[in-house]
Structure formats: structure tokens, C-alpha cells
């Protein structure tokens, strides 16, 4: 079995900077996984992050104050994207998106696509990432750190409790999201789009939706509208005309 001496995970730094291992997240949490992988990427550059109990400034909304945090998310994320770009600074924004801010998933209302907002505001580096593709995520965070202007990375983090699936499929379901092109992985360097992971065979969106119980009430017609929307957006991305 020792045919291959070195595997890619062994190239990562083995030291854990994910210090409070006893984090309050549920088992199989995508946010915790994403945070841990960004720690791997930012290993040497964490002097500026010493501020909170977690060694990075972070905010974790509790179930009890969801309504408050929903309001906060709307009040804080948007102005941050809108105003901070005016200052002459270099910031790295990481948005861990577990798709919990929306009230109920409906096929007619799609979620607000913050990477597009960031691109429109002239961020130097904008990317989407998913912890199911760890080396892609680590590369993007490193590139975001090295970029000269502001950078924004939108990270899809599967939530076993909110999306209602078994926790062992948390990584698998992120992979389904990327393979069905409902969450394409791309990066935008000063306005030019590039798909980082482009599967030759795209899965039907239905396979991704059927894995989660939160989409249990969707009917066939509604799934088709989602499929049409996803296909349209993905064709634009493939041609680079967004």
C-alpha cells in the first residue's frame, strides 16, 4: 500500500490553529469545517487577528436570537460590503453561508447573491468556495490575502440541522451543490470571471434538492424553474459573460 509516498493533505500544515476545539457548533458543522480550513490557509498571517475568544473576530448567532441575528446580518453585511470599499484599505471578508437567513426556501425567490454585489462594488478579488473542496478553498483564501485591494470570499457551509440531513453527508452534499452547478465555484480577479472547478457532466438539480428535507415540499414544476435558472446562470459563467 505504500505505492505513493505523499498525498496532498500531508502538504498542509499539521499544526492546529483552530484553537478552541471545543467549539459550540453541532456535529458535522460546515461552518466549523470552513473556519478550520481557513486557519490552515492563514497560518503565518494571524498577527492581526488576535482580538476575540476565538482568536479571530467572529459572530455566531444562537437559535434564541435568530430574529435579531437575521436583522443583524442584513444590517451588517450589506453596509460592510457597501462602505468599506470606500476606505483605502485591504480587507478580507469571509462569508460563511449556511442559507439560514432566508425565511423559507421558495422556488420563485432566489437568495441574494453577495459575490455579485462585491464584484459590482469593485472588490479586487471575489471568490466562491466550499469546504468540500478544501484545497480550492485554501488556495482562494491565500490569494485573497495576497491581493492588493479588498477581497471577498463566499463559503457555502452545509448545515445538517437547518438543511435536515444526516451529519455524515455534510461534505458530500457540498460536493453535490457544486456538481449540480447550483453553487458554482469561481473566482473574479479585477472583474474577469473564471470557473475554478468545472465538471464536464452537470448533475440535475433535483438530485441535490432531494437530499435535503428542507426542500421536501417542492413539486416537479418548481424544480424545473430552478433548473432553468441554474442552467442560465451557469451558461453565462462558462462563457465568462456575467
Amino acid at each position: 500500500m505504500d505505492k505513493f509516498g505523499l498525498y496532498a493533505p500531508q502538504l498542509l500544515p499539521f499544526k492546529e490553529h483552530f484553537i478552541p476545539k471545543a467549539h459550540p457548533a453541532c456535529m458535522g458543522c460546515g461552518v466549523a469545517l470552513g473556519v478550520r480550513q481557513t486557519y490552515k490557509a492563514l497560518e503565518e498571517k494571524r498577527d492581526w487577528m488576535k482580538d476575540a475568544g476565538w482568536e479571530i473576530p467572529y459572530k455566531q448567532p444562537l437559535p434564541g436570537n435568530i430574529s435579531k441575528s437575521k436583522k443583524e446580518a442584513k444590517e451588517e453585511i450589506k453596509p460592510a460590503l457597501l462602505t468599506i470599499e470606500k476606505r483605502d484599505q485591504t480587507n478580507l471578508f469571509l462569508c460563511f453561508d449556511n442559507e439560514a437567513v432566508e425565511d423559507k426556501p421558495t422556488p420563485t425567490v432566489f437568495k441574494k447573491w453577495y459575490p455579485a454585489v462585491a464584484v459590482a462594488r469593485g472588490f479586487h478579488y471575489v471568490a466562491t468556495a466550499c469546504p468540500s473542496y478544501p484545497f480550492d478553498l485554501i488556495d482562494k483564501v491565500r490569494r485573497g490575502m495576497e491581493s492588493e485591494g479588498n477581497s471577498y470570499i463566499h463559503i457555502l457551509s452545509p448545515c445538517p440541522v437547518g438543511w435536515d440531513f444526516d451529519s455524515e453527508f455534510a461534505v458530500n452534499i457540498g460536493r453535490y451543490a457544486v456538481e449540480s452547478a447550483i453553487f458554482p465555484l469561481y473566482e473574479v480577479v479585477t472583474g474577469s470571471y473564471r470557473l475554478t472547478i468545472d465538471h464536464p457532466k452537470i448533475r440535475p438539480v433535483e438530485q441535490y434538492l432531494k437530499l435535503q428535507n428542507r426542500f421536501k415540499h417542492f413539486k416537479q414544476k418548481e424544480i424545473l424553474t430552478i433548473q432553468a435558472e441554474v442552467d442560465r446562470e451557469y451558461a453565462k459563467l462558462r462563457e465568462g459573460k456575467v
Binding site: M1, F4, Y7, A8, P9, Q10, L12, F14, E16, F18, I19, P20, K21, A22, H23, A25, C26, M27, G28, C29, G30, A32, L33, R36, Q37, K50, D51, A52, G53, W54, E55, P131, P134, P160, D166, S167, E168, F169, A170, V171, N172
Partner: protein, 102 residues
């Protein structure tokens, strides 16, 4: 069924007098000494004949419970494992099985 709430005695080490104005934390990483305390229902067990030491379980562990041991194989720190089963699902070679602890 009524549960009686246990009165937790405050340790003499830390009182409200010790907190700073505005509860400002001057040291980072204060949650480091704490452990989850709850044991997982299912725990991963490695089959060393099947394992090729690729380290995928290590990358995908959300709780940072999987560690590389001295012989190159991977093992779990049961203080931090929550038993989510991602490592069992993601292992390409089927080397990890989830079993009851003990």
C-alpha cells in the same frame, strides 16, 4: 417529571470582580482549556490494513479531532470527537468504521 436544578457553586478562582469593564477580553483563545464533555455515541475506528495514510479524514474533520500519529497513521482524540461520521463517509478505501465506544 420535574427536574430539580442543581445549584452550581462558583469556583473561588474567578468572580465578577475579575472581569474588566465592558467584559473586554485581553487574551485571545480563552476557550482553549474547555472540552465538550459529552462523549460521542459512535466513534471512528481505523482498519490499518485498508488505510493508505492519505489524510482525507484529517482534512474533513470539522472538530479537529483527528491527528496524525507517529507511525504515519491517523487516530482520533475522543475528547473532541462528536461522532458526526464524515470521516467514515469520506474515506475512499473504507478503512474507517463507526462503532460504539467501548
Amino acid at each position: 417529571m420535574t427536574k430539580k436544578l442543581k445549584v452550581v457553586k462558583n469556583s473561588s478562582k474567578h468572580t465578577w470582580n475579575d472581569t474588566r469593564v465592558g467584559c473586554v477580553l485581553l487574551e485571545e483563545g480563552k476557550a482553549k482549556p474547555f472540552k465538550p464533555g459529552q462523549k460521542p455515541i459512535l466513534v471512528p475506528i481505523w482498519d490499518k490494513e485498508m488505510c493508505v495514510r492519505c489524510g482525507l479524514c484529517y482534512v474533513f474533520c470539522p472538530d479537529a479531532a483527528i491527528k496524525r500519529e507517529d507511525d504515519g497513521y491517523y487516530g482520533v482524540d475522543l475528547d473532541y470527537c462528536k461522532g458526526c461520521g464524515i470521516c467514515h463517509q469520506e474515506c475512499w478505501f473504507g478503512a474507517i468504521s463507526m462503532t460504539e465506544e467501548g
